[in-house]
């Protein structure tokens, strides 16, 4: 078996390539849904760099396999070392350098469009002249170990956003672990934390940003896929165009329950659906009357397993909060006011 090593390397490499190809065609193993506009750009970057690396990977492994094959027997004789070649040395410096420069050049616009949106025109680095005011502003407060989202009910002028983020309104709706946006909205999240460093990470939106104590950090994105719709008749969320679950997870170790610090992202198809849901949530958060006990709903649940099955996960978990119009006190609207808004002078 003189050619054993060559065959081994060839087999393992083919197996790895095969896994990559299989992963591409099996949804769960590849990239999540590109649910935001910046997801499309970031994914393109991923494929471009991946393709470039794949080219070099295949090329080097091919050379290795062929060399192992041809020189596997001692009949091939001694090697003939190459002692320096100026041309080759220049080529293998300039070539990769050019590749890296290209990668940098294509990365910059993507970085700019994700991190520098909505800057004032006077800002020196690539402020986007056509970046618009956000359609939606939500205050996100991370705490050990859940996420609070504060939705304004009244419209806030752009120059009032900062005050609102610090003061708030008593009529704001505060929910735990539920992010609601609509397709095509320019969403601005203001990230805060009440205790330690957390990280707001939604893989489907390709949004990740650490939350730092003492800071309010803005994040912008625009959803392009919708997974739920609010049904005013039923008063609940129902599956939308893409009945998928998009999770929010904490991406910075923050204590014993960091692994379970999750939330769900609900993208409505349009502003009307979002506003209908918002009004429904507002009424619940202003509940002035106790309502009847509703008892168990008719869905079956598997104990210990959160409802993240693909088919109707979004409405199922939402239904846990808004199971029927009667159950006013089911608590989707009872997050609590963020502490630092009022406590920090």
């Amino acid at each position: 078996m003189h050619r054993f090593w060559s065959l081994l390397f060839a087999t393992v490499n083919l197996a790895c390539l095969g896994l990559v190809v299989a992963a591409y065609f099996t949804t769960d193993w590849w990239l999540p849904d590109a649910a935001s506009t910046q997801a499309v750009q970031i994914d393109w970057l991923f494929y471009f760099i991946g393709g470039l690396c794949a080219f070099f990977y295949v090329a080097t492994q091919l050379i290795l396999v062929v060399a192992l094959w041809r020189f596997s027997s001692n009949r091939a004789g001694l090697a003939n070392p190459v002692h320096g070649s100026h041309v080759v040395e220049i080529l293998w410096t300039v070539g990769p350098l050019a590749g890296l420069v290209v990668i940098t050049a294509v990365s910059f616009p993507v970085w700019k469009s994700t991190k520098y949106q909505g800057l004032p025109a006077s800002f020196p680095i690539g402020s986007d002249a056509k970046a618009s005011d956000p359609d939606q502003v939500i205050l996100v407060t991370a705490r050990q170990w859940d996420w609070h989202f504060r939705y304004p009910v009244a419209t806030i002028a752009v120059n009032e956003i900062r005050h609102w983020s610090e003061d708030g309104n008593p009529t704001d709706i505060v929910l735990a672990d539920e992010l609601h946006v609509w397709k095509g909205a320019q969403v601005q999240l203001l990230l805060k934390t009440t205790d330690v460093i957390h990280s707001f990470f939604v893989p489907a939106l390709r949004v990740k940003q650490d939350t730092l104590p003492g800071k309010t950090i803005p994040v912008r994105f625009e959803p392009r896929l919708s997974n739920v719709r609010f049904d005013p008749q039923k008063g609940t969320l129902v599956p939308g165009e893409q009945p998928k679950t998009w999770e929010l997870v904490c991406a910075e170790l923050c204590g014993g329950n960091h692994y379970r610090m999750r939330g769900k992202v609900f993208v409505h198809p349009d502003k009307a659906s979002f506003l209908a849901w918002l009004e429904n949530a507002r009424q619940k958060s202003r509940a002035r009357a106790a309502t009847e006990t509703t008892g168990n709903s008719s869905r079956s649940a598997m104990p210990g397993r959160p409802a993240i099955a693909v088919a109707d996960a979004a409405p199922q978990s939402a239904r846990g909060r808004t199971s029927d119009p009667v159950e006013n006190e089911s608590g989707s609207s009872i997050g609590n006011q963020t502490a630092e808004d009022s406590a920090n002078p």
Binding site: F4, H148, K284, R288, N296, P303, I334, P345
Partner: protein, 444 residues
């Protein structure tokens, strides 16, 4: 330079090749291992041979009259309970007493409440099955709840619901110790001294968490799971209360079993030969279950909201007066919520931990921030934390309570307050820091 391909060196290269191949091949199963293992942990319950441990931690019989001046240091909650005895509190030590009735008590608890893997409420001969089932405390629901509790709640709230789980001993405020049978955020009536939670009270707490503490929101769990956990928590609470009640009575010197009947089942006629723990436990269990059933039917309803939007500023002003004035027709809440809660004095609660009247300018409402939640907090109080139920005299109670709620709701938002109220709370600039620095107790 030796030729590595010459025959005298072939032996070494041959063995390297053989062992090297085996080393490489043996890696394969390790690479595949993560893909082969599946997470079955969420289907597992407690080990079947695990029993609830007999209670060994200290029991707080009476909290000290003095105000505390120390918070417990992290991880030192037990020590702070022990230290209550040094400042005038009364502590009972279950470990100091090993009389025969202790073993009998443990047997009775196991008989009537089962084990963590197979919990139940009531032994089969008690005849309490229908009462338990009506409260969703049937064995099947409790088993589901036990599995879910183990997965979601155990690490803070502990095996027996003692609040001393692995994570629980490090957080402040401490996670709820269910074993006294007391809860803070209730919506049920206080008539007949009933202080039981409704099932909805518990489920609501699960869904939104308790802001200002480390209790997170569990709203993403399925509704059935939350209901099952509520059942299991009630089970832990009833079991704990049974144990706590008996220990607290019998650990005192010169205590007799008949005291249990006298104090906790005063309406029961008990003959001399019935003064036994085995008689007391099922009877008291029946009493507790009937209290829970009554609580389910006694949810407090708030009066209808009498105001329109334009009435809000005046309502806030009236509420502010009710809160801060010491006049006979006002409530004088400010006497405990000193400086609107910014300088509240520290005090002991019924579990022996240190807390204080809440800071109403912070915007943190532990029991929920809806108007109805605030109504419940004030209408029926928070007994274990010594928040009294608000009693309004002088007529017009319906309007006055809503005035107070409107004030509390808007107090954290200076911009939303009428000018006089804003000035009273926040000073002239409107965004002032607290008027007096609240003295934080030092850690031990």
């Amino acid at each position: 330079m030796p030729n590595p391909l010459a025959s005298r060196n072939r032996q070494k290269t041959g063995s390297v090749r053989k062992w090297g191949s085996w080393a490489l091949v043996s890696f394969v199963p390790f690479v595949l291992l993560p893909f082969l293992s599946t997470s079955c942990a969420d289907r597992e319950g407690y080990p079947e041979d695990l029993d609830y441990p007999a209670r060994t931690d200290l029991i707080v019989d009476e909290t000290p009259k003095l105000s505390p001046n120390n918070l417990s240091a992290p991880g030192a909650f037990e020590k702070s309970i022990a230290d209550l005895a040094l400042v005038g509190g009364k502590i009972l030590d279950p470990a100091a007493n090993q009389d025969p009735w202790r073993a009998e008590l443990n047997e009775l608890l196991k008989e009537h409440f089962g084990t963590p893997a197979f919990p139940r409420v009531g032994a089969s001969k008690d005849g309490l099955e229908s009462a338990a089932n009506a409260l969703n405390l049937d064995p099947k629901t409790l088993e589901l709840g036990s599995m879910a509790y183990r997965r979601h709640c155990l690490q803070c709230h502990g095996l027996a619901g003692d609040g001393r789980g692995a994570s629980g001993i490090w957080v402040h405020p401490a996670p709820r110790d269910f074993r006294q049978g007391k809860f803070k955020f209730l919506s049920t009536s206080t008539a007949r001294n009933l202080n039981r939670p409704s099932r909805d009270d518990l489920v609501r707490t699960f869904k939104v968490g308790v802001h200002g503490t480390s209790m997170p929101a569990f709203g993403l769990l399925a509704e059935e799971e939350l209901q099952a956990i509520a059942s299991y928590v009630i089970h832990l609470s009833i079991r704990g209360e049974m144990e706590f009640t008996i220990l607290r009575t019998l650990l005192k010197p010169k205590s007799q079993i008949v005291f249990l009947f006298e104090n906790f089942l005063p309406d029961e006629e008990v003959s001399k030969d019935q003064e036994k723990l085995s008689v007391f436990v099922p009877k008291y269990l029946k009493e507790i279950l009937s209290q829970y059933a009554l609580a389910e039917k006694s949810i407090l309803q708030a009066p209808e909201y009498p105001y329109k939007d334009e009435d809000l500023p005046e309502s806030i002003k009236r509420g502010h007066r009710l809160f801060s004035s010491q006049a006979p027709d006002a409530l004088g809440c400010v006497s405990c919520h000193v400086d609107y809660g910014r300088s509240s004095p520290w005090q002991y609660d019924e579990w022996g931990s240190v807390s204080r009247p809440s800071n109403l300018t912070s915007g943190i409402f532990k029991g929920g921030r809806r108007p109805i939640d605030l109504y419940w907090r004030m209408k029926r109080g928070i007994p274990p934390s010594k928040m009294p139920a608000v009693t309004i005299t002088g007529g017009d109670e319906d309007k006055k309570i809503w005035d107070l709620i409107n004030f509390i709701e808007n107090a954290p938002y200076p911009a939303k307050l009428p000018p006089e109220v804003r000035e009273a709370i926040y000073g002239k600039s409107g965004r002032l820091a607290p008027a007096a620095s609240s003295e934080k107790p030092k850690h031990q």
